[in-house]
C-alpha cells in the first residue's frame, strides 16, 4: 500500500539540464520577490510537456492544478494563457534555451515550466521556477512516485515554488472540510484547498454538521444526526473508524480539539442551557464544565499554545467573543463593537481571533488582536460573510459567502484582502481548514 513515497530525484537540476537561461535585459532588475506583499506577481505557466507517450491528458490537469494552487494565496496572478505565452514557450523549446527577456516583454514576472512522464503506474514530474525580473532560476526539482499520487506531487511542488519565490509557506497540502447539501441532506464534504477533488464523507444517514480538525490532520470531529440525536463523532479519515465522543442529552456540537490532540472542548445543553465542556478523547476523566451562566455559551476555539479558549457568550444580551483559560478561569470579553459577533477562530500564529460580525445589517469577517483588543474588518463587500477558519499559515482565511442567493467558500489573504472563490456549489458552508497534511 505504501509505495506512494515520493522520491526527490534531483535538486535544482531539470531546467539547467534541458536549457540554458538567458537573463532579462538590465534595467528590469527590480525585486518584487523580496517584498511579495506589495503586489501580486504576474505568473506564466506554459502547459507542462509530456516527455513520454502515456497519459497526454495529464498535461492540462497538472498545469491547471499547479496554477490553482499558485493563485490561491494571492501572491501570483496567472497571466492569461494567450497565444503569446504559447509562442514564447515554443520559441524557448525551438531555441533550446529559456529567453527570460522575451518573457519579460510579455509582462511576466514569474515563470514556471515543467515536464512529466508516465510509465505504467509511476509518474515523474519536473518543474522549474524563474524570477523573470531577476533573470534567475529560483527552483528546480523532479519528483517521482505512484501515479495515483500525482496530485500530491503537484501540491508538494506548488508549496515549494511558493516558498522559493516569495519566502512564504504555501498550503497546497491541506484540505478543507465543509458542509454542503447532498440529496437534500446537509453533509460533511472534503476538498483540496484550491477546490479540487470534492468528496462527501460517509457519515451514515441524516445531517452531519460543524466539522473541526484534529491537529494531526487525520481525524475530523463533527455532529452526526445519524442516531436521531445530534451526537459528536470523531471520524478517522485514514482508517474509516468513527467513534462517538459525546452522546449527552440535547446538543453535542460546535467543538474544537486541543492542540495536543488530547481533549475536545464542545457545546452541550445537558444541564438545560448551551454551555462549554471539556472531554478527554481517551475517555478518562469524565466531563468537565468550563462555563456557567444562564446565557448561551458556544463555539469554543483553542489558542495554539493550548492555554486558552475563545468562545461566544450572550451573557450581556448580545453574542460577543470572550476568552478564558482552558480550565474555565479568567474569562474576559474581547469584542466591543457591534451587536452580533460569533464564530471565533484562533489564528495558528496566536495573535488574532477571526470572527463574523454584524456590520450595517450584514455579516462581515473581522479579526480581533488578542493582546491589544484592536478589531479589524477583513471583508468589505456586498455579500454575507460568515464562519472564518484559518489556513495553517495564519495569514489566510476560508469563509462562507452568500452571493447571488448561493453560499460558496472564499479564501482571503488578510494582508491583501482580495477574495478568491474556491467552490462552485449552492450551499457550501462551515469550512474548517486542516493543518498541513503529511500525505
Amino acid at each position: 500500500m505504501n509505495k506512494t513515497t515520493i522520491a526527490v530525484l534531483s535538486l535544482l537540476l531539470p531546467a539547467a539540464v534541458f536549457m540554458p537561461v538567458s537573463p532579462a535585459p538590465a534595467g528590469s532588475d527590480y525585486l518584487r520577490v523580496t517584498k511579495p506583499y506589495a503586489d501580486s506577481m504576474r505568473l506564466a505557466v506554459p502547459i507542462f510537456q509530456n516527455e513520454g507517450a502515456e497519459r497526454p491528458d495529464l498535461a492540462a490537469e497538472i498545469s491547471n492544478l499547479l496554477i490553482a494552487n499558485l493563485a490561491l494565496p494571492g501572491y501570483f496572478i496567472p497571466a492569461d494563457n494567450t497565444d503569446f505565452v504559447r509562442e514564447q514557450d515554443e520559441e524557448d523549446r525551438t531555441r533550446g534555451r529559456i529567453d527570460l527577456g522575451g518573457w519579460s516583454t510579455l509582462g511576466v514576472e514569474a515563470l514556471v515550466k515543467g515536464t512529466y512522464r508516465v510509465d505504467g503506474d509511476r509518474v515523474s514530474v519536473s518543474a522549474s521556477a524563474f524570477s523573470v525580473s531577476r533573470g534567475r532560476q529560483l527552483y528546480g526539482k523532479r519528483y517521482s512516485g505512484d501515479l495515483s499520487r500525482w496530485r500530491w506531487i503537484v501540491h508538494t511542488i506548488s508549496d515549494e515554488i511558493i516558498e522559493a519565490l516569495t519566502g512564504e509557506k504555501g498550503f497546497s497540502r491541506t484540505r478543507i472540510a465543509f458542509v454542503a447539501t447532498h440529496e437534500g441532506e446537509r453533509k460533511i464534504h472534503l476538498m483540496e484547498a484550491s477546490g479540487g477533488e470534492v468528496r462527501k464523507i460517509d457519515s451514515g444517514r441524516g445531517f452531519a454538521l460543524y466539522p473541526s480538525w484534529d491537529p494531526d490532520g487525520q481525524s475530523l470531529a463533527y455532529t452526526s444526526y445519524s442516531s436521531g440525536f445530534p451526537w459528536l463523532v470523531l471520524d478517522n479519515l485514514r482508517t474509516g473508524k468513527r467513534r462517538v465522543v459525546s452522546a449527552q442529552p440535547g446538543m453535542n456540537a460546535l467543538s474544537s480539539i486541543s492542540p495536543d490532540g488530547r481533549s475536545i472542548a464542545l457545546t452541550l445543553s445537558r444541564d438545560g442551557n448551551p454551555e462549554i465542556y471539556l472531554v478527554r478523547l481517551d475517555g478518562t476523566g469524565g466531563l468537565r464544565r468550563l462555563t456557567n451562566s444562564p446565557a448561551v455559551e458556544c463555539s469554543p476555539s483553542w489558542s495554539p499554545d493550548g492555554n486558552r479558549i475563545a468562545f461566544v457568550s450572550d451573557r450581556t444580551g448580545t453574542p460577543q467573543i470572550y476568552v478564558m483559560n482552558s480550565d474555565g478561569s479568567n474569562v474576559s470579553r474581547l469584542t466591543r463593537r457591534g451587536r452580533h459577533n460569533v464564530s471565533p477562530s484562533w489564528s495558528p500564529r496566536g495573535d488574532l481571533i477571526a470572527y463574523s460580525s454584524l456590520i450595517d445589517g450584514k455579516f462581515e469577517i473581522c479579526a480581533v488582536n488578542v493582546n491589544t483588543g484592536e478589531e479589524t474588518r477583513i471583508t468589505s463587500d456586498p455579500y454575507r460573510n460568515e464562519e472564518p477558519s484559518w489556513a495553517p499559515d495564519g495569514r489566510h482565511l476560508v469563509y462562507s459567502s452568500r452571493r447571488y442567493g448561493r453560499n460558496n467558500l472564499m479564501v482571503i489573504d488578510i494582508r491583501n484582502p482580495r477574495p478568491i472563490q474556491i467552490t462552485d456549489g449552492r450551499d457550501c458552508t462551515n469550512p474548517a481548514w486542516s493543518p498541513i497534511q503529511a500525505r
Binding site: A180, H182, D202, Y210, S226, G283
Partner: protein, 222 residues
C-alpha cells in the same frame, strides 16, 4: 420505542458489531447516563439509524402537537404558545407511553453556529414549560437544527416567523416489543460492514445554472 428501548437496541448493536470494542462496564440505571455510557465505542452509525424512534405525529395528533413560534433572536415562550403547550401537556397525560422530540429551529438571519445554540434554547424552553405543566422530563427530548431545516425559503417576515419555531415528533411507545424481537442482522451484513474500508465517494457539487458563475480560479487549459 422510547429512549430506554433505543439504548438497549444500540447497546445490542454495539455488542454485535463491535465485539472488540473497549470494555465499558457499569451501564447505569438512568437512561441519560446509559446513553452517555456509549461514548467511546466505535458505533456503526448506519445501524443505529434503525433505532430512530421519533416520527411525524399522526394526522389527528398533529392538530394538537402544533408548532409554537418565537420572536426574533429570542427563546422565551410567547403568550400565543401557552394554550398550545397546555394542549400538548394534556395530550401527554392521555398518551402515557408517548415521548416527544422537541425540535428547535431558527430563521435564516442569524449565523449558523449561534442559531444552533438558539434553536436548542428554544427547544429547551418548550421542554421546561411542559415540565412546569406536569409532563415528566424523562419523556421530553430536545434537538436543534439551527437554520438547516427551514419550512420556507423567502426572505420576508412572514417566512422568518414560520421558521422560528419549535416542532414536535413523537415516539408512540408501541413498537418497543416488536423491536426487541427483531433477529440480529445476518452474518453477510456483518461481513459487509467489516469490509467497509473505502469510505469516501466522489461527488460533484449541485449547480445552479441560472445564477452567474464566478470561479476566480478558472480552467486555464481545456
Amino acid at each position: 420505542m422510547d429512549r430506554a428501548g433505543l439504548v438497549l437496541f444500540v447497546i445490542a448493536a454495539i455488542v454485535f458489531f463491535n465485539g472488540c470494542a473497549r470494555h465499558r462496564p457499569d451501564v447505569m440505571a438512568d437512561p441519560d447516563t446509559r446513553l452517555a455510557a456509549l461514548e467511546g465505542y466505535d458505533i456503526p452509525l448506519a445501524e443505529i439509524t434503525e433505532g430512530r424512534a421519533f416520527v411525524e405525529p399522526r394526522p389527528e395528533d398533529a392538530l394538537i402537537l402544533k408548532n409554537v413560534h418565537f420572536d426574533f433572536d429570542d427563546s422565551s415562550i410567547r403568550d400565543d404558545a401557552k394554550p398550545v403547550l397546555e394542549g400538548i401537556a394534556a395530550w401527554m397525560t392521555n398518551n402515557p407511553r408517548a415521548e416527544l422530540m422537541i425540535e428547535g429551529h431558527c430563521d435564516e438571519r442569524g449565523t449558523r453556529e449561534y442559531n444552533l445554540a438558539l434553536g436548542e434554547r428554544r427547544a429547551l424552553s418548550v421542554r421546561s414549560h411542559l415540565i412546569g405543566l406536569g409532563v415528566s422530563e424523562r419523556r421530553l427530548h430536545t434537538i436543534s437544527y439551527g437554520k438547516e431545516k427551514p419550512l420556507c425559503l423567502e426572505s420576508n417576515e412572514a417566512c422568518w416567523q414560520r421558521n422560528r419555531r419549535a416542532q414536535f415528533r413523537v415516539s408512540y411507545g408501541t413498537d418497543r416489543d416488536r423491536r426487541a424481537e427483531l433477529p440480529p442482522p445476518p452474518a453477510e451484513v456483518r461481513r459487509q460492514i467489516d469490509r467497509e474500508v473505502v469510505r469516501e465517494e466522489r461527488v460533484s457539487l449541485p449547480r445552479d445554472e441560472e445564477a452567474p458563475r464566478g470561479r476566480a480560479i478558472h480552467r486555464y487549459y481545456q
